[in-house]
């Protein structure tokens, strides 16, 4: 006969054991509740919130494009003294930001020919380039041709193009009649570089 519960047997003993177990777990639960953080009330709160949505920022773009007008060419072969030609070059701002651009020239081939050929760049009016009536942006040796300054910022002579705008330039190239015979059979190629940056 067990010492502490001598009068309990069978089902009665099972009930006693179950009650003991319940008391044990009840005790643990009580201790657990009492052991939770002291300032229990601070866990209760009201909250609210508002938002500012749809604040959208997008980067603009600075893109410049150029193209020769239909039928125009900037190439000419078999030049002789006194030859000249006109060509229209369209410059477009295909970005979303106003831009400023400058033009510089790099030359390959005969430097002598490059410095002999004369280039005049004009803005195009409503007349064809052949009218040569626009404002002169550059006139001088082909090899030194430049409009504005590609350095950062707005420099004297720089061209400004609003977003989506375009303009046409007229290029007139002339081989002076004073060209020396030593230029015979020489050739030169000029590359016009349009450097653009954001305006402001």
């Amino acid at each position: 006969m067990p010492g502490r519960i001598p009068h309990l047997w069978g089902a009665a003993r099972l009930e006693y054991t179950a009650m003991t177990t319940r008391l044990f777990f009840s005790g643990l639960l009580f201790i657990g509740v009492m052991g939770s953080p002291g300032p229990h009330g601070t866990l209760a709160y009201l909250s609210s919130g508002v938002q500012s949505t749809g604040n959208r920022f997008s980067a603009g773009t600075v893109h410049i494009a150029n193209s020769l007008a239909t039928g125009a060419t900037l190439s000419m072969a078999n030049l002789i003294g006194g030859d000249n030609f006109d060509a229209q070059l369209d410059v477009a701002n295909s970005g979303t930001l106003s831009l400023i651009y400058a033009v510089s020239t790099s030359l390959t081939g005969s430097a002598a020919l490059g410095s002999t050929l004369q280039l005049t760049v004009r803005t195009k009016t409503t007349s064809p380039c052949g009218a040569r009536d626009g404002a002169i942006l550059y006139t001088g040796d082909l090899s030194s041709a430049a409009i504005g300054d590609p350095a950062h910022g707005l420099q004297a002579g720089d061209r400004v193009l609003a977003a989506g705008a375009s303009e046409s330039l007229c290029f007139t190239v002339t081989l002076p009649t004073s060209a020396v015979p030593s230029l015979v059979a020489t050739n030169a190629a000029a590359t016009f570089v349009f450097s653009a940056e954001q305006n402001g």
């Binding site: 500012s52 604040n55 920022f57 980067a59 773009t61 600075v62 402001g200």
Partner: protein, 242 residues
């Protein structure tokens, strides 16, 4: 005296015992009957009312006011370039009956390449409910380059100093530890948001430096910023009625 023996069976003994007990109970009841008569009186404390407070914010910006839960497009810039700066005011109103504090966080989304890392965000505020209830022309115009750094105009200068936006979003002021307080009923704070397209260096080529964000596709590099202002009651109250 002559005694007569009485013979009582066990059953009769039990009956006698029950009758005796009943008799004792009846006598006991009769003994205390007079104490059932008494005077009474009563007083009451009525109408002890407890009402839940309310915590509700409204928000406004330069073209919307007193809205909940959100205003839209408080600050935006469609074609930003390095060096550009945008300013915009946002007003937070506490229209609830409880004093509150609030926190600030933001998230970003993009429909292309996220511009967030190229942008700096700075925030100043009027401070602790000292702003005007509605964003007026004066409040709106003081959120600009001229006044942004003025601690006279914007007393809360340290809400957020200029720092890059994080694409994943960020908590600027955690509401739990916030000191941005709004009085009950009419508390208002006006914030001035500054967003700057900061310098990434002179382009060494068409794809380096600032040109990293000069996308070939128009409007492809963008970010949409959503600001969230979470409110919380300032503190639990304990009222001791004397």
């Amino acid at each position: 005296m002559t005694s007569f023996p009485i013979s009582v069976s066990r059953g009769q003994q039990l009956k006698l015992a029950l009758v005796g007990a009943l008799a004792v109970g009846v006598l006991a009841t009769m003994t205390g009957r007079g104490t059932l008569a008494y005077f009474t009186t009563q007083v009451r404390s009525d109408t002890n009312t407890f009402t839940a407070g309310t915590l509700q914010f409204h928000v406004g910006d330069s073209d919307e006011s007193n809205l909940t839960p959100a205003v839209t497009t408080s600050i935006s810039f469609a074609t930003m370039k390095p060096g550009d700066v945008a300013y915009a005011p946002i007003e937070i109103d506490n229209v609830g009956s409880l004093a509150a504090k609030y926190g600030i966080l933001y998230t970003t989304t993009t429909s292309g390449t996220n511009l967030a890392p190229a942008l700096d965000l700075a925030i100043v505020g009027k401070g602790s409910g000292t702003g005007t209830k509605t964003i007026t022309a004066n409040n709106a115009t003081s959120c600009n380059a001229t006044s942004f750094a003025s601690s006279t105009v914007w007393s809360e200068q340290s809400i957020r100093t200029a720092a890059p936006l994080v694409s994943a979003g960020q908590t600027i002021v955690a509401v739990g530890s916030s000191t941005l307080n709004l009085a009950a009923v009419s508390g208002v704070d006006i914030l001035c948001m500054q967003v700057t397209f900061h310098d990434h260096g002179a382009p060494g080529s068409l794809t380096t430096g600032d040109n990293v964000y000069n996308d070939t596709t128009i409007d492809h590099t963008n970010t949409t910023v959503n600001f969230v202002f979470d409110g919380l009651v300032s503190a639990a109250a304990v009222i001791n009625n004397p």
